[in-house]
Symmetry: C2
Subunit: 317 residues, 2 copies
């Protein structure tokens, strides 16, 4: 089966999203070498517009829509970062955005979305079907769905993060990326393997949200009940139809981290790297910090996927 | 009277410190425009090696010393960031470092300095004379003093931060820099005014440590009792002999911020910019955020001077 995206689609995305997405810095923290035995390069998507990598995919899709579609608005369902990204891109092109969001989404994610002029429709994460709610709105408005991960334009957009990272640090020997629905890792894998075929790619999930870890081992997509990890951006119950074949093709292994390891990574990033990273954003780095990688990795590129976390959460850390 | 440094000395420093100092990223936070009415560009010295701009000056001086001096070691007195910077640069050239440090310095500053192999001599900030202690050690060892600000090589090194900022964002109309002893703002002013003579330069101090504000208004250096501001990096009691004439020549005004405004700036940087900044590091941005700048500034470059802050302090924020 052919994969949903090509490296060329990621390169095209990099051009398309320039007006909206920032080229984020890559930071090699002082203490990384001594603590982990390897050089670590942090791709800081927490410093991205909207506080997460999500603007890359959302703007890639929305900027490619014809005016006739934009007139009918866009709809997204998201725990937060994708919502904010969709709202930013929609505002940029002058389209209405309706966001279907769990009612317990962190305030740090809900409030900026509302402030961007989006209409927010909330649902109960344990009871309601967010896709059904989005489908109803789409039926009423004739608008366009901006899915959180399982769409070629979204996947290609997210891959631009790895394109920038390898442009800046070409001689990485591994790339470490968190997995929710798999949009980020699939886009990053396709472009990274085309640039550097020997690069080793590792996905990381919270133990409490191990749907892709299970799927990867079983060789087919499985679903789990709504997971309760603190990494609220990685609570999707299964990998995507389009993202999973890419993960199977390019990812060497899926690694797991505990909730406490995620917190430890957040603390390290706060104190040693001076970076605010949300729980989901720290998951990939947690695998590095806690020694989950196999031997032989000396120069690791790590995607810090986002930084939208409530101050109250940081306080409890 | 001629000034202690020239733009050429800053350019020479930029070459000299390359092995030790990082080119730090410049970040334009999403929310800056809507909150302040201006575009703000944050020069992230909190992401610098050692967590502050201080490595620029310390490495510029230490890398210029002959081997015969390095053999006898280096000595610094510092509340923390300059200590860590001196220890990093000394270790790089294989010189012994002795640091004279207040006994109440934040752990986040003291521990990394010790871990770098420096010998730490503590003193009572309200009672002892740190310069006298350093002088005694220098008499015993014949070592070289690495002063925190009042030295041409230190001032020139610190100026490299502004050189990088203007290289990346050439069309700034103002530069906002915190003032402790004045090393950072004097180095930055000399290079910035040579590149862009029309640039407006503003210094910022905590109200509780207003020695340069008073000196600036009086036209001569005055001393204040040891200040108690949370901005522990800015507690010097007077501007330097060498830095003050530079400040008088190039700085349009010295602005003051309250302790609560410093905390507010730290919170904003944490939540909106995803950056951990120490109290001193947030002082310049506090002046921007709290409307202390005169009218007419549309594109402001702001030095975030450092990020070394205890987690306990962040928790109380």
């Amino acid at each position: 089966m052919s994969l949903a995206i090509t490296p060329e689609m990621v390169r095209a995305a990099a051009e398309r999203i320039k007006p909206l997405a920032r080229r984020t810095p890559v930071i090699a923290p002082d203490a990384s070498a001594q603590n982990t035995g390897m050089r670590v390069f942090l791709k800081c998507e927490n410093l991205q517009r909207g506080g997460a990598f999500k603007i890359r995919g959302a703007s890639n899709l929305i900027l490619s829509l014809p005016a006739s579609d934009l007139e009918r608005g866009v709809v997204a369902f998201s725990s937060g970062n994708h919502a904010q990204a969709t709202a930013i891109a929609a505002r940029y092109v002058g389209a209405r955005a309706t966001i279907v969001m769990p009612e317990d989404a962190p305030r740090s994610k809900m409030e900026p979305t509302r402030a961007l002029g989006a209409t927010i429709v909330t649902y109960d994460r344990l009871r309601d079907d967010r896709e059904a709610i989005a489908a109803r709105i789409l039926g009423e408005t004739g608008g366009t769905l901006v899915p959180p991960y399982d769409h070629p334009m979204i996947m290609a957009g997210q891959g631009t993060a790895a394109l920038e990272l390898l442009d800046e640090i070409p001689d990485l020997d591994a790339l470490i990326v968190c997995i929710g629905g798999g949009g980020l890792i699939s886009g990053c894998s396709v472009i990274a393997k085309s640039i550097r075929p020997g690069l080793r790619i590792f996905g990381v999930e919270p133990e409490l949200a191990n749907d892709t870890w299970q799927s990867f081992r079983k060789g087919e997509r499985i679903s789990i009940p709504p997971p309760e990890t603190i990494a609220d951006g990685l609570r999707s119950p299964s990998p995507g139809k389009l993202t999973f074949p890419v993960i199977r093709s390019f990812v060497e292994d899926v690694l797991l981290v505990t909730e406490e390891e995620i917190r430890e990574a957040m603390r390290f990033l706060l104190t040693s790297a001076k970076l605010v990273v949300e729980p989901s954003g720290a998951v990939a780095f947690a695998a590095v910090l806690c020694g989950k990688l196999p031997p032989g990795v000396n120069r690791a590129g790590v995607l810090l996927s986002g930084g939208n976390v409530d101050l109250e959460f940081l306080r409890k850390l």
